[in-house]
Symmetry: C2
Subunit: 462 residues, 2 copies
């Protein structure tokens, strides 16, 4: 039985898919500090104009430049694999397919957008890119892309991860990037935080503030900032995952997908696999679509949809999204990529519409799933990916109970080879769960009080 479906380079999708063109209810605009919609030129000090154009585009299909494809070919099209050995272990009639995004040089789906972002910046004449990173997946992906493009790359890495997870920093250095612990003394935002909280472990929100500050204060005008998730253009670049998956399923004659699953932190990995199938759902297809998050950071399952900042220092525009409040501090679960307080506006709106149905799982449950996966399928998943796997196993068991030969597709967002300490701690019984207590959620949500409201507008079609 075939366990993987490959596409040749000439079969790669040549356009990205923009869900914004098809959402039944139009997206609400980002707002500036004055409460008015942000204009493209307001974003110009932060992003190059070609990416801003993608950010606000309503065009359904956007061409992928040939030069970007040439770089993506290193690992794309990525394999569509079938988890036949997990299926067998579960005794399920379900067929479990997954896109293996762990084959990229950085080991996750992140390079799918790092490469286009670096390329568009270079096209625009930019010489240097700043960014933030939590556990380091994004920072290493951007470092990789910048190395290939000959751009300077500066990564502000959340201090606790910088100290605890030195390997991602080493990867960035191998690719020639500069990686500093955040908060740092190199920015005003960093110095302010350090003055008040000298022992702070840092946060993604702080690191974003530092990276943006460095970009906008560079007097040469040749530095811009890059974000690894949340924004429309980032999600756009990731849709190549789902578009490839469609071609691959078609190639082996799978006519119908029943369930599509992806883990969701900022939302880019989920969007990548799911948006092309949400398009089908909008057009009448019967598909269940599940973004999966941790119970410790339950943005989609428990937080309101409203306007909030993307960072602690409130340097970003206000985005309409599910948010736990920008002051939210996530517990130290190992799935570092799922610890963000907000959620991509496009994903949030899809959930508001009922086009996607979020699920949340505890960390220990996810590690159980990851071990079962590794011992049947072989590959060791990232802790983020283990959240998707947990939902997959649940669906496969349900299919067994119902006696249905369902087709389940999910995004294997990355491998866990840089996350083995989490596995070791789990196996040693040292990990715990952190379901978010109701009072902590209420406390955290105070940080959005007084901000403009984004009404929950839904078409009512789902």
């Amino acid at each position: 039985m075939s366990v993987k479906v490959l596409l040749n380079e000439d079969e790669i999708p040549r356009q990205w898919y923009n869900l914004a063109a098809d959402l039944p209810t139009p997206m609400q605009p980002p707002l500036g500090p004055d409460g008015n919609p942000v204009k493209a030129e307001d974003l110009a000090p932060i992003f190059p104009m070609n990416l801003i154009e993608q950010e606000v585009s309503q065009q359904r299909w956007i061409d992928i430049p040939e030069e970007i494809l040439q770089i993506l070919y290193r690992w794309r099209p990525s394999p569509l694999r079938r988890a036949v050995f997990l299926e067998k272990a579960l005794g399920t009639p379900a067929k479990i397919y997954y896109k293996d995004e762990g084959v990229s040089p950085a080991g996750s789906h992140k390079p799918n957008t790092a490469v286009p972002q670096a390329w568009y910046n270079k096209q625009f004449g930019i010489k240097s890119i700043t960014t933030e990173t939590g556990a380091g997946q994004w920072g290493s992906a951007l470092a990789f892309a910048c190395a290939l493009m000959g751009l300077k790359c500066k990564v502000y890495m959340v201090r606790i991860s910088f100290d605890q997870k030195p390997f991602r920093k080493m990867m960035m250095n191998v690719w020639g990037a500069d990686c500093v612990a955040s908060p740092s003394t190199q920015t005003q935002a960093g110095r302010d935080i350090l003055a008040r909280y000298p022992d702070t472990p840092g946060s993604l929100g702080i690191a974003i503030s530092e990276a943006i500050e460095e970009a906008v204060t560079d007097k040469t005008g040749q530095t811009r900032y890059s974000l690894g998730s949340v924004l429309n253009h980032v999600l756009l670049h990731q849709t190549i995952i789902g578009l490839e998956a469609k071609k691959q399923l078609q190639k082996i004659g799978e006519k119908k997908v029943d369930v599509v699953i992806g883990c969701a932190g900022g939302g880019s990995n989920f969007a990548g696999i799911a948006f092309p199938f949400i398009a089908d759902k909008i057009n009448g297809a019967d598909i269940e679509i599940y973004p999966v998050e941790p119970t410790s950071c339950p943005t989609l399952t428990r937080a309101p949809f409203t306007y909030d900042h993307g960072d602690v220092a409130k340097m970003t525009p206000l985005l309409p999204m599910h948010t736990l409040g920008h002051a939210f501090v996530s517990p130290p679960i190992h799935a570092g990529g799922l610890r963000y307080h907000g959620m991509a506006p496009l994903v949030s709106q899809a959930v508001v519409e009922g086009l996607a149905t979020p699920k949340a799982y505890d960390q220990l449950h996810c590690y159980d799933s990851a071990l079962l996966w590794a011992r049947t399928e072989g590959y060791i998943p990232a802790p983020e990916t283990s959240h998707a796997i947990t939902a997959v196993i649940e669906e496969a068991k349900k299919a067994k109970e119902e006696g249905k030969e369902k087709v389940i597709l999910f995004s294997w967002s990355g491998h866990g080879l840089m996350d083995l300490v989490g596995y070791a701690n789990f196996m040693a019984g040292k990990l715990i769960d952190y379901p978010l207590p109701e009072d902590e959620l209420r406390e955290s949500l105070k940080s959005i009080e007084g901000l403009p409201k984004a009404p929950m507008v839904r078409s009512g079609r789902w």
Copy 2:
């Protein structure tokens, strides 16, 4: 321009290639403690009989059982990639192709033999496999294979690596294997060494002794030992690399390969890529074939061809090979897989015949090559792989000088994601070279004094 060539599962080679059938000069037999050739039954307590049959087979092609293929399909056929960006950076007219063995679950070529070995053991009724590992590539590969096959796996890991490189141990644990530091108190061999040298960092030779002892002393008779390189059947299993490469080159119309390169520690990775091309060379093809080793462990370039033990405790039969002497203690270079005192008899005999021409490089030179690779091609190579890359770059530069459009093929034996500390130390200027001093070589070779000699028999055809 296409940067990778894929094969579908139904295009996988269905037989392994056995070079022993074609070597112009027959191999000299392994010898037992009495100096007489070892008989198959002497090996029966150590290996299952089906693998012993492969070990002594003179059959040119050996069928790969379908069940093994089903497991190999997880990552095989592996991609044949073209390093177009490195070519461009070097300005070379050479075309550089490489087999990417980093795509396996364990991240190297090792699972190519771990899976068949586990499978044949299981077929033979074995329940438990013991082995040794240095830096952990082999131990993790066997742990992976045993997890899939439902076999117990016990790995003796050289203590210094066990302490310094905990991640490979964690990988083994994820796959359910038991990994202990060697020398341990669990075997007589280990206890003896610890009594004499309580602070020893351990060595591969000691770990082999421990693993063999545990296998042969298991009273249930259901435990066997497994080796990750050196032996004929191990090299046999790796030939799938080169056989796939041939099909892939054929697929894109490359009619002639000029240079084939692989790094060589015990010899299995080199054999995997090179043996199918050595067959062509025997049949008259004009191909340069280079095994590459470190100057700190110059087995092929500076050591004699003679009989020696594979381990320190002299538990293994005597093998005819290039050897630095079983008492050799390699300097602490980061390419842990290239620190073995001996070399596979098949590779050694091929070198004796002139069918392969060894090269050796210093560690720092190899790290320079690795960084150039990572910053042009993206993927981060293992330190072992960087030795092959160094030879590739040298050949590509030579092709430039000569103005020749050479086709260079090499085996990218694995990724370096578990070896980032070596990169960090290199970039921090903390690494040094260890070219083996002549007097140390002489001292080390004393351990083979008094052992039977294996004459340098060559056909004289090359």
